[in-house]
Structures are given as structure tokens and as C-alpha cells.
Amino acid sequence: MSSTTKTMTEDKPKNIGYWFKQTFIRVGVLPFFLAIALIVFTILSNKFFTGQNLMNVARQSVYLVLVSMGQMMALIAGGFDLSVGTSIALSSVFSAIVMVFCAALFPDAIWFAILLGVLAGFSVAIILGIINGIGVSYFEVSPFIMTLGVSSVGAGFALFMTGGIPVSGLPYAFGDTFGFGRWFGIPAPVIIAIICIIFMWTLMTKTAFGAKLYAVGGNIKAAHLSAINTKKTLMLAYVICAAIAALTGLLLTARVESGEANLGGTIALESIAACVIAGVSLRGGIGRVENVVLGGFFIVLVQNGMNLAQISSYMQMVLLGMLLILAVIFDQIRYRLIMSGQ
């Protein structure tokens, strides 16, 4: 009797439901969502599944992919960063102001002005990241409150600096190179994103920092008892997140050719959605760069598909929010499956 029951259960893994479940546990919900999206939008619009359109999506998704990789750091650390949008806005406004000012000061050294502007943009975002990091790691403020507060502070600051008016008059070379430029025939933002993806992948999988971050997010007490400097690790996660947001802010500034305080409005939500769909756990410790890249691409793909299917932008907000909630629910189910040891 006992032997028959055993063979019965051993046969079970071969069926398709088991395979679905194991895939779900391993990589999350993304493969299923991606397949559904491709099928649905291909049916809804014949312009969707074309090389031209998919290339378009790839180019448009650069910004979200970048921010999502930063968001992933905060999520893996066991928190999240609601201030990524503010980092974008602040870096945009600051870099633009510094660039315009320096370009007027040294009209003959445009690239010097651009360099100073870029440094200013990164610096201000990194300061935001440090504030987030100090709050979350040293004072143990909940990441939700900390980054929400910082987000308000930063956004207010950006609006105050500009009075809500875009900062125009950027050097043409900036927009021409980083916004619309092509290197080796590939759009500059795409190349920068690829470099950044390779950098982040290496950081997370090959370096001690990556290993430490996973450990801290997975079980901070265990990490502490493995001699890891947990506070410094947490702090760095938020700093890197802000720095990548700043890079995104600079690329967007180059694209719109002005410094704007309203850049990055919905990107915090979108980047969290991209990460969660890509299998990054909201409880920390789990997440892979390559999947997050695909997650960011997926969100933009859905937006593109909805545009082609002529879904109104208001309705798109509704659908995107629902998508996030759905992804979080699946994350919950996945976590339960993982922890129940199946």
C-alpha cells in the first residue's frame, strides 16, 4: 500500500500544472504575463507585432528599465524607493540650471558646462539617496515613510527652484548627443542603458556588494551574524538607486531639451510594478537584473499595445494600477509557496 502511494506521488511532477507551478516559483509571473500581452495585443492591433514597433518599444523602455534596476536595489534590500521620480526631477532641474549658467559663463567650453551640469545632476540625486539611506539604515525609519517624505521634500525643492517653469536654453550639443544622438547607428540612450545593464548585472552577480545586498535583504539578522556591515550595504542600495534615477533624469532632460520639475511623475509606481512582475520580492532578498530589464520592457510594451489598441490614457492608468495589484498578489502567492516548502 505504501509503495503504491509513493509511486503515485512521484508521477505527479510530470504533469503540466506542476511545471507551471515550478516556473512560477522560480521566475515569477512575468513569462505568463508577457505571453498573454503578446497574444492579446497582436489580436487587437496588426501594427503591434512588427519589428519596427518592437524596436520602438525597446527605445522607449530605456528610461523605465534604468529606473527599475535602481528600484530593484531598494526592493532587494527589503524596502522600496518612492522618491525615484523626485530624483529624476531634481537631477533634471539642477543639471539644466547649472548647464545654462555655465554655458553663459564659458561660452567657449560647452562640454565643460555640460560636464558640470551632469555632475550637479548626479550630486543632488546622490544626496537624496544618502538621506534615504541614512533614514532607513541608521534610524530604521520605514522605507515607505522615509522615501515618501524625501519625495515631497525633493519635489517641492525642484518646483521652488524653477517656479514650475521648465529651464530652457540648454546647450544644443547635450540634447543632440544624449537625447537624439546615435552611436554606431544605435540611439545613444539605448547604448547607455546597455552599459548600465551590464554594470548592474556584474554588480549584483559578481561582486561582494551584490552578495551582501542579497544577504541583507534575505535575512538582515543572519547577515549581521555573517559579519556584513548591514547599515552600509542598505545605505549604498539607496544611493545607487538614486544615482541611476539621476542618470535617467539626465537622459530625459537631453530628450526634452529642458530641465523640468514634472519629469518622472508616475515612474515610482511603474518601476515597482516592473520589478514585482519580474519576480523581485517585496520582502527583499530576491530579484535578478535580467528579469527586471524584461519587466521594464513589459510595462512599456503594454502601454504601447494599449496605445495601438486606442485605449484612452485614463483607462491606461486604471489598467496599470490593476496590473501592479495583480503582480503583488501573485508575489504573495509565490512567497507563500516558497515558504511552505513546496
Binding site: 500500500m1 505504501s2 502511494t5 509513493k6 503515485m8 506521488t9 512521484e10 505527479k12 511532477p13 506542476y18 559578481k206 561582486t207 561582494a208 552578495a211 551582501k212 542579497y214 544577504a215 534575505g218 535575512n219 539578522k221 543572519a222 547577515a223 549581521h224 551574524l225 555573517s226 559579519a227 556584513i228 556591515n229 520580492s281 520582502r283 532578498g285 530576491i286 512567497y335 516558497i338 515558504m339 511552505s340 516548502g341 513546496q342
Partner: protein, 497 residues
């Protein structure tokens, strides 16, 4: 004997890939204490989860009072008079004791909760049980043992026909255990049937009537407590004759490596001791004796008021945990789940992080991941972790295998002193003997070892020297030849002046 109140027939529980319970017949009479005994993963928890209503069988039947039942929930089981005290607590930490006891059945004055009555009733219940707990205290401020008592009190509030206790004494002091046993005997007289799960064989004589032994999900047999002995039980439990589970560890000491003098802290009272390389130092004591706290202070996980700790001749009193570890001390937490392991990742990933930290400590700037992976597998071989388990998530492993991974971490990160805090808690006999072999090997490699344990045979047999702690003080230090259970117990309970 009286009629059976609970009977299971051919009860079976299947999980994908495993048979957790295989055609188990079990019965419980009223007024009887029926002990379930077996290694971790033998199926005890699965069996009681079905009796408690938190799980349903794949096949087989469950009868209560001669009626076939099919519990849909814990509440359903309670409606049939079956109450369970699980190991995992079901208390709400932010509420007080009385609120927890009356959760969902608060006494009312019209539409308002009658807090006064609730408090006085709670007081009466706790008093009857002999539990000295203030019902207005918040649960989170109670010790684990006290929380356990509240949990038991909560189960005894209803109209109990069958009471299931899952390792109720694991975190109780002996005095509290005495109270609990008196109470159990009382319940027996009232005709309540009690299912009792415990690893502590010394308890069986005191309260047990019959013992059912489970192994690998199957019932091995049911014996009367009167007609059996410990050897027979262990043999039935493990399926083999375990003698020499404790290895002989060579006595080959080096220099003194750690010296603690006049250490004072909350719960630690003027403790001094030292340990040499290659020495195994055991620390025994009751819950709350300060044995664990002492070592957490050495590790920088608690603050000392005064005293001096020096390691390899240098003071480490004021260093952070991280800095202390860098000097060469490794600490294995007693709680592998909350402090020891990253449950959502693989054993290999868990070991890798310590190898990475070891690389950093040795000043290596660039990590050789191939080398780290290979070493993680070497350690997995060494801790006898089955190939199939290495890529699984730690949460999917049994307690014993999780503990092996925790042990693996101290092989990954080089240290000269290793502190094991409750190294075999919740681990079965077979795995224990493997873990003891690892401790032996570490000691014989010249590492100093501290073992803090509530498992007396464990510290008695492994230690070269044994410290006994009582209420924060060092009650006595015993050399190997002097170690005996009588002396240890005497110092456990000795009242200090």
C-alpha cells in the same frame, strides 16, 4: 479502559513527492495522556494538524466520540471539543494577556466589552493553572515561556474534550513544567484526553499512559509507558540502535584564546571564565539563567555594564559584532530561521555569502566565483547535505538539514572560536550525531568551542569543561571527570544569596 474519544483509521497525507503520513491508526481514550514520539519529519505534526483541523487528510477517517467527522477548520475542531496548543504561538503581541485569552469571546455589557470581568476571569484562570502572569501585561513584553503559558491557558478556556499539546515544555522552566503537569493530571481526572508531543523522554514516566512511535510517516507501534524504556523508544524512533552518539573529543589544548573577567550586564552577574584553543567548553543552565545572554554579550549583541573580554590577548569589549567576528569569533544563533539563514535562497547561496565575507576578511579584492561555488559544494559534501537539496530553497528543507547548513556557515568563514548556541534544537537523532562529529572535528583542528545548550546530555558528553549558570551567576565550573547530572541539577536550582 474507557471508550476511545478519538480514533483515526488508515489516515494518510500526501504532499507532492512525499508521503507525510502513511495509513496511521491512532486512538485516544478519555482521561489518558497519549504521547506521540518520533524524529523531526516523522509525521507527528502532520497527524496533529489533522486532528486540530488545520489540515485535512488525503484519505482515511477520523472519528470523535464514535461519530465520523471531517474538520474544515481549527474552529470546527474546537466546536467538537478538540483544542490544540501549537508550537507556533497564536497570540497577538500588541494586546494584553486578558484580551488574548478572550479574543473573539469577550464578555460584554450590552454592546461594550466588560474589561473588568475579563480581567478578573483571566486572573482566575491563570491562578488555577498556577501561572504567575499579570493579565494586564502586553504579550510582547512576556518571556517566551510566559507566552507559552498564556497559549496553554487560552486553549483551556473552552469546553475541552481533547487537548493537544505540541512540545509544550520546550521553553518552560522546571517549576513551570511542574505546574503544567499538575494541571494535566487534573484534566486527566476530569476525563479529558490529552495528546502530548515531546522529545523529552524523562517526562514520559511522569504523565504518560501510552506512547505511539512514528517514523517516516508510518506508525511503528504503540506501547504502554510502564512496559517500555528509553533504549527501546530510541530504537523504535530511529530504526537503529544509537550508542556512541557523542564522539570522544581529543584533549589537546593550545594557548588560552578567550578571557572573560568580571562581566556584568542585565541577567549576567560577575562572570569570569576563559577557554583554550582546542577546548570544548559547555555552558548549561535553565531558561533565563543567562547562558545565552552571556555569549551574545561576548559577540557584541548585548551591552555589558562592566567587565573585560579579551580575545587572543586583545580587548574586544567595545567592538561591534562585525569587528568582533573579524577578530575570529563565529556565533551560531539558536534560531536558525530568524537569525541564521536566508530561507528564500538555496543552501549554496547561504554558504556563498560567508565565503565571500571570508574572502574579504583575507584581503582578496577580486572574487573568484568559480572557486567560491566549488568551496560551497565542498562544504555541502562535508556537512553531508544531499545533492538534491543544494539547489532547493532552505525553507524547503527539514529542520535537521537547515541546521546542517547553519553549521556549514562556520566552516565557510574562518574563525578560531566558535560559539554554538543550542546547536541541535529541534534536530533528530541521526542528524545530531553528524553535527557532533563536526564539532569534534572543529575542536581537534585547534578551534576553541563554546556550546550553550538546554540539552543536558549534549553538554555533559561533549564538554571538556562545563560551566553551570544560575540566575546570571556562574554557579560552578566542572572538569570532565566531575560532570554528573546530580551536581548540575543541584546547581540549576540552588538559590543564590
Amino acid at each position: 479502559m474507557s471508550e476511545a474519544i478519538v480514533t483515526t483509521k488508515n489516515i494518510t497525507k500526501l504532499y507532492p513527492g512525499t508521503v507525510a503520513l502513511d495509513n496511521v491508526d491512532f486512538d485516544l481514550h478519555s482521561g489518558e495522556v497519549h504521547i506521540l514520539f518520533g524524529e523531526n519529519g516523522a509525521g507527528k505534526s502532520t497527524l496533529i494538524s489533522m486532528l486540530a483541523g488545520s489540515n485535512s487528510p488525503s484519505s482515511g477517517t477520523l472519528t470523535i466520540d464514535g461519530k465520523l467527522v471531517n474538520f474544515s477548520s481549527v474552529a470546527d475542531a474546537q466546536a467538537h471539543g478538540v483544542y490544540t496548543v501549537f508550537q507556533e504561538f497564536s497570540l497577538i503581541p500588541t494586546m494584553n494577556v486578558a484580551q488574548n485569552l478572550f479574543l473573539g469571546r469577550e464578555p460584554k455589557n450590552g454592546i461594550f466589552i466588560n474589561y473588568k470581568l475579563m480581567k478578573s476571569k483571566s486572573q482566575a484562570i491563570l491562578h488555577d493553572l498556577g501561572f504567575d502572569i499579570d493579565p494586564t501585561k502586553t504579550v510582547s513584553s512576556l518571556s517566551r515561556a510566559e507566552q507559552q503559558m498564556v497559549e496553554i491557558a487560552k486553549a483551556l478556556m473552552g469546553d475541552v474534550k481533547v487537548l493537544i499539546l505540541d512540545e509544550p515544555t520546550a521553553s518552560l522552566t522546571d517549576r513551570e513544567v511542574d505546574h503544567l503537569f499538575d494541571f494535566i493530571l487534573d484534566l486527566k481526572k476530569k476525563g479529558v484526553g490529552i495528546i502530548y508531543i515531546s522529545h523529552r523522554m524523562q517526562e514520559f514516566d511522569r504523565i504518560g499512559d501510552r506512547i505511539t512511535i512514528l517514523r517516516d510517516g508510518a506508525k511503528i507501534g504503540t506501547v504502554n509507558v510502564k512496559d517500555t524504556n528509553e533504549e527501546q523508544l530510541v530504537e523504535m524512533m530511529t530504526g537503529r540502535n544509537i550508542t556512541g552518539i557523542y564522539p570522544e573529543i581529543k584533549t589537546d589544548f593550545g594557548e588560552e584564546i578567550l578571557n572573560v573577567s568580571n562581566l556584568n550586564a542585565i541577567g549576567v552577574n560577575n562572570v569570569s571564565f576563559s577557554i583554550k584553543a582546542g577546548e570544548v567548553l559547555g555552558i548549561a543552565g535553565l531558561v533565563g539563567s543567562g547562558k545565552s545572554r552571556l555569549c551574545r554579550i561576548i559577540m557584541g549583541l548585548g551591552t555589558a555594564f562592566s567587565g573585560e573580554i579579551s580575545f587572543k590577548g586583545k580587548s574586544i569589549s567595545n567592538l561591534s559584532t562585525r569587528e568582533i567576528m573579524k577578530t575570529g569569533i563565529y556565533y551560531l544563533s539558536p534560531d536558525r530561521k530568524t537569525e541564521g539563514l536566508d530561507l528564500a535562497r538555496s543552501p549554496i547561496a547561504n554558504l556563498e555569502i560567508n565565503l565571500v565575507m571570508d574572502n574579504i576578511a583575507k584581503g582578496k579584492k577580486f572574487l573568484n566565483w568559480k572557486d567560491i561555488k566549488a568551496k560551497a559544494h565542498d562544504i555541502s559534501d562535508h556537512i553531508e547535505l544531499n545533492d538534491d537539496y543544494r539547489k532547493k530553497l532552505v525553507s524547503q528543507l527539514s529542520g535537521g538539514n537547515q541546521q546542517k547548513v547553519l553549521f556549514g556557515k562556520c566552516f565557510a568563514q574562518d574563525a578560531d572560536l566558535i560559539i554554538f548556541d543550542e546547536p541541535t534544537v529541534g534536530v533528530d537523532m541521526g542528524t545530531r550525531s553528524a553535527l557532533y562529529q563536526m564539532i569534534k572535528q572543529l575542536a581537534e583542528d585547534g578551534k576553541a568551542i563554546i556550546i550553550i545548550s538546554s540539552d543536558l546530555p549534549e553538554v555533559m558528553n561533549l564538554s571538556h569543561r562545563l560551566l553551570v549558570m544560575n540566575k546570571g551567576r556562574l554557579a560552578i565550573t566542572l572538569d570532565k571527570s566531575e560532570i554528573s547530572e546530580d551536581i548540575i541539577l543541584k546547581h540549576f536550582f540552588e538559590e543564590s544569596n
